[in-house]
Symmetry: C2
Subunit: 537 residues, 2 copies
């Protein structure tokens, strides 16, 4: 009745190349210089990548591991791999060696494509990666690093390859990408994105009340493409015909600032990046001349960051929440009419929530018995998700990752209000339960970080004979400062009931982090235990 | 790997009811009073409609004909029918009796749902509709009109039915709706929309550079739901969580103005509606207090209408083009960066194009040999389309409606520029070809209508011994006015080469129209022939 139109990611790039051919796609290369391309240019080069991979024997369904920074070349690889019918397995260079070995072997990566500065990682690991047949270094032959490995360069891959062949076609439910979650326990688990799930995710994420990307935007993803599907920005941008700036590997505040000033209107990163950027702007009395919006996710965004962007720089903050398992968008905090109707100063409270889901994502909160809890803005429950781009089963898993009714347990604890705004209050594994009641560690940490001398904070549960657990707060001070715990307690007293306040606030030199930069509460609790920590009387 | 999430239209309404439960859905009822509902309310009532239809024996795949104005109740029916697994066949009350009989029988409508004032149409036709088992009148028993037909009322359909049962589920490629095209020759042809095509269409149409609907909008579709899938607004609005105002059956300018002033920010209709509205506003010195944007399609929009909305009322015009066969969106004229870069006064020229397609629609222009023509903004060719919501085969047709490469011939003649902006210059059937060159009848008509004393204009070809064809221009003057043909010719001289100018400009009392309100050039040419019209020397 209607035409057959498989939802394949190549079609997104085709749309951009055909209807936004000259839209700039810019970026810093790993070799240093700024590269200037367009959507038509990216499409042509991606077609060469696809043809080059096929010439090297890549067949439909083969998996290719990619460890690369956010560059224009990475975009060409991002589309070239699925364009050859293969599967793009993103590799995080910060993973521990054992984890990398596990996931490359588990996903059965046939080829590795790697930025030249990251090649040493594979020099160390190759003896443990028996399935990897070939390493392609994402630089040209004349900038190739010295290596004992047998490798080919990017120009050897694409030179002489046609730039106008159709993408490998197939069913929309074929795999397109793999991203592993770095669980704090057990082996990493592979999430397999399909062509369909990626296209539907980009379509729903790009909506006006979500990421709201237009062809008049120039977006810079600071979030790496290897983090949680790169927050889908490499799909959303060409879908909208938006211009892009790829920042390269320099994640320093001065480096990113230089890239932001290349006409970027929209950017996206985890909160810690913005803490550093805001300090850099203030210290050097710099402004943001074109930036209008910033998408913040990956961890709860402190109120101080939202206020600084909006009040000092006129940049709108969109607080978001997602997971690798959700492709990754779960919610975005845009303002529905109910929020626009309240006084501007109260809207900041709403911006501490992570907002509401796009079409195709459904959410609920449940108690320990799995019963749905009310959306009253105060009742906390385990956050469960369903959707077109939510995992059903991890790669090679024997069981589904969802319950009998198809709900995926996000591992987060949250409240929801009557308009579906979600406030993440905790991770279910990190929950502090005192006297039978939950205490939000995230809210405690965000409040503490608002203190100008606090760099980072972590609230964890310590066993207590009467209350079962009591919260304590570990603080990493800003370099050279020693904040007064009493001042921090005063801040907390404004937002917490007395019984919810931490029993102790103490300074630490650093906090343990996971490979994706989150504080490992598990390890912090272990550290306290190892140190023989006891609650003050 | 990823969850199974069939794209069914019921899921759109579920999203609105769950995440925008209290968003107002308002409208004038056919009985007269204003009705106030919400997305949660519409969902509950639509579930009752679905349950009521199933209780009356409706099974998956059954077709139900619906002849109704744009009301809140029609929205409940719009979702209730596919919610029962049935197919919503929209019926245009302005179709000729023979056409109605043909399409109701051809689509095998089992039930008819009809607004009370339109019931007389079926009183006349029922003896010729052997498949119709039941007529449901969309009013309550106490406002039911006298009728000799055996009918049931809307309250009898839904009263006592549960409002919380799941929608009938099934494959996303199952049929959801049918709309017939009223071809100027031959029998009407049925376009069958699937659940998937409607959802994908709404997702792509709602994008920021397309319809750009947000939950902060209140949209009033003046375009009837029975015209070309109601321009998809009944899907786009709940998808975005937007508020709606349904205008009812009063299409007069004062009637629509009253509804616009109910907080409407966005509206959509054919140009003729807006010609009347603009006259009404001017004559009565009225303003538009909340309206921000107007989507204009269904026929080429005169420049004068665009200028009046934008310059006099601060309302942005989005000129659009589509077809019943395209669900219906083909293009929308929003501004890409290339357009924002030119001086504001020149952007008005761009707004006379119908803009560029959404993701999932692909277009090309071809010559009579089917060869692709350049996108240079001047070369005219037959406009061909492909897409996820473009017809493959008409209902019960024996052959596909597309060529061997899958392209659908839109019947329009157009130019395209390098950014994909489409300018419709003619209908291929209405084309004026003089001395081997095409002359744009649409541009000629729009230029003539810019004259304040011209109400409507139609350019048609008249046979010519030397040039094959020559254009003449028929003018319907504004009531009581007699515009000077020389003045109209002066306007045309500014935009047309000398050889393109009409050989004659003459006044007529009216123009022949098709059932959907378009000028029938076929009939106009026939009229001229019947009158023995000859070109002036």
């Amino acid at each position: 009745m209607m035409q057959n139109f498989p939802l394949r990611v190549g079609g997104i790039l085709d749309h951009a190349a055909r209807y936004h051919p000259n839209r700039p796609v810019l970026g810093r290369s790993v070799e240093g210089p700024i590269v200037e391309s367009t959507w038509a240019g990216v499409q042509r080069e991606a077609k060469q990548v696809a043809a080059g991979l096929k010439a090297l024997g890549i067949k439909k369904g083969d998996v290719i591991g990619v460890m690369a920074w956010n560059t224009v070349r990475h975009l060409c690889v991002w589309y070239g791999i699925p364009g050859a019918g293969a599967v793009n397995h993103t590799l995080n260079p910060r993973l521990f060696a054992d984890q990398l070995v596990y996931i490359v072997n588990h996903a059965e990566d046939r080829f590795i494509m790697v930025d030249p500065d990251l090649l040493p990682i594979f020099e160390a690991l190759m003896p443990r990666l028996p399935n990897v047949e070939k390493i392609i270094v994402l630089t040209n032959r004349d900038t190739m690093p010295e290596t004992g490995l047998e490798v080919i360069s990017y120009d050897e891959l694409i030179n002489g390859q046609p730039d106008d062949q159709p993408w490998e076609d197939g069913d929309e439910n074929e795999p397109c990408g793999i991203c592993y979650t770095s669980g704090t326990t057990g082996n990493p688990k592979g999430v397999v994105y399909t062509h369909r799930s990626n296209v539907l995710h980009a379509l729903t994420a790009a909506a006006p009340d979500m990421v709201n990307l237009s062809s008049n935007d120039r977006i810079m993803p600071v979030v790496p493409l290897f983090h949680a599907n790169g927050w889908s920005i490499a799909y959303c941008a060409p879908l909208a015909g938006a211009s892009m700036v790829m920042p390269g590997r320099d994640m320093s505040a001065p480096g990113l600032y230089e890239m932001l000033e290349m006409g970027v209107t929209y950017t996206a990163a985890v909160p810690t990046i913005w803490l550093g950027m805001l300090q850099h702007l203030e210290a050097n009395k710099l402004g943001l001349s074109t930036l209008k919006r910033v998408l913040i996710g990956g961890a709860s965004c402190p109120r101080a960051v939202i206020e600084a962007f909006q009040n000092n720089y006129g940049v709108q903050v969109l607080h978001a929440w997602g997971m690798t398992e959700m492709s990754p968008l779960g919610t975005i905090c845009s303002f529905k009419p109910e929020v626009n109707a309240i006084p501007p100063e109260e809207r900041l409270d709403v911006q501490e929530t992570v907002g509401h889901p796009p079409y195709s994502v459904d959410l609920k909160i449940v108690n320990d018995l799995g019963e749905s809890l009310p959306w009253d803005g105060t009742t906390q429950g385990r956050l469960m998700a369903k959707g077109a781009a939510v995992v059903q089963r991890y790669l090679k898993a024997e069981e589904d990752a969802v319950d009998s009714e198809g709900w995926f347990d996000t591992g987060d604890v949250a409240t929801m209000d009557e308009n579906g705004y979600v406030r993440i209050t905790d991770r279910s594994k990190d929950v502090i339960k005192s006297g039978g009641e939950w205490i939000s560690s995230i809210e405690m940490e965000n409040t503490a970080v608002a203190h100008p001398e606090v760099l980072e904070a972590a609230a964890v549960a310590v066993p207590h004979p009467k209350w079962d657990e009591r919260p304590v707060l570990a603080i990493v001070p800003v370099d050279g400062k020693s904040p007064d715990p009493a001042d921090i307690m005063s801040l907390l007293e404004k937002r917490f009931a007395k019984w919810q306040l931490p029993d102790d606030i103490f300074m630490v030199e650093d906090l343990p982090h996971t490979a994706t930069g989150k504080v490992s509460k598990l390890e912090l609790r272990q550290r306290l235990k190892d140190q023989g920590y006891t609650l003050p009387e």
